[in-house]
Symmetry: C2
Subunit: 186 residues, 2 copies
């Protein structure tokens, strides 16, 4: 039987441990290795302890992905705040954030979640709600039509990386995308 | 015991029936509904009959996707042949083909396969081999750097449709992409 000390383990710490262990498992073996039992074991709780925080595996995946979106949003806000130019600032921040390399561990767990988003209806809904909301928020600085083309090309480049499509003169291409976010002349 | 007439059922017809039934099941219930047993039943053969043509489910999925690529390639070739302008002809054909609506049934089965490609390493390899080969084939007419940006934006728009991201002034945007495939002035 658990000691009073163990039973008082803070719920927030347990929730954090469950999320961190799920991310770690996703890095190692993809989303399929993120099972309720594996995550519970890694976090040092019972299956019942897991289900107390997340009613099922999907709820944990949703929470993980929402954290990725929140962290992406924080990164965008930091970049926008540091950008002296207002016009196109969201799109420039978007280009930078999409291709930021934060270290193989973090990138790998996030990559697994982004790929899952492409085929998981619930995660797709989280993504579109979040991104469409940001588009609305930055309409004044980033509503110009050609900036939409720059963002779409950014997504296309992300997809090319994911699918191993060759992109010659990649550095030049990224420079063109950033240049495309500046106010057009005349 | 089967009659000699049944035993002589042409292998090519059986293979065709297996592929067609798999596509039909994918339309209705996604890739997960494409099981060896379900496809065999729908095609009127035994599980052994299925395995004679495809050693496992993945081999059938690979064959289905290869057919999608072959058909995509035929469409590109038709559009390129009908295009009076050489410069950028592959990219223009690509834009048209990516957004061609061929009827809800065909689109749905292909959509299921394209989505699977995004998360299935074998299909991704089929896609990148095919596309990188086409890029090489059309290097003379479509090697210019800005055409890569147009193709990436096309892929980004495809992804936006898949993920329900809002794209305001979509018709204008598509016109810009096509206009971007013309030889730049000067």
């Amino acid at each position: 039987m658990d000691s009073p000390h163990k039973r008082k383990k803070q719920p927030e710490l347990v929730r954090r441990a469950l999320l961190d262990q799920a991310a770690r498992l996703a890095i190692g073996g993809g989303i399929s290795s993120v099972t309720v039992q594996a995550v519970a074991d890694a976090a040092g709780v019972t299956k019942g302890g897991f289900l107390h925080h997340f009613p099922h595996k999907q709820a944990l995946i949703d929470a993980l992905f929402q954290e990725v979106l929140d962290s992406f949003g924080d990164e965008l806000d930091r970049l926008i705040a540091a950008d002296a130019d207002r016009f196109g600032c969201f799109t420039r921040a978007y280009i930078t954030s999409v291709f930021a390399v934060e270290g193989p561990g973090r990138w790998s767990s996030q990559a697994a979640l982004w790929m899952l988003m492409l085929t998981d209806a619930t995660l797709r809904a989280l993504w579109s709600d979040w991104f469409n909301s940001r588009l609305g928020q930055h309409h004044e600085t980033d509503g110009a039509g050609h900036l939409a083309i720059v963002r779409l090309a950014t997504d296309g480049l992300w997809l090319a990386d994911l699918t191993n499509i060759e992109v010659p003169e990649r550095d030049w291409l990224l420079e063109q995308l950033v240049a495309g976010t500046r106010q057009p002349l005349g």
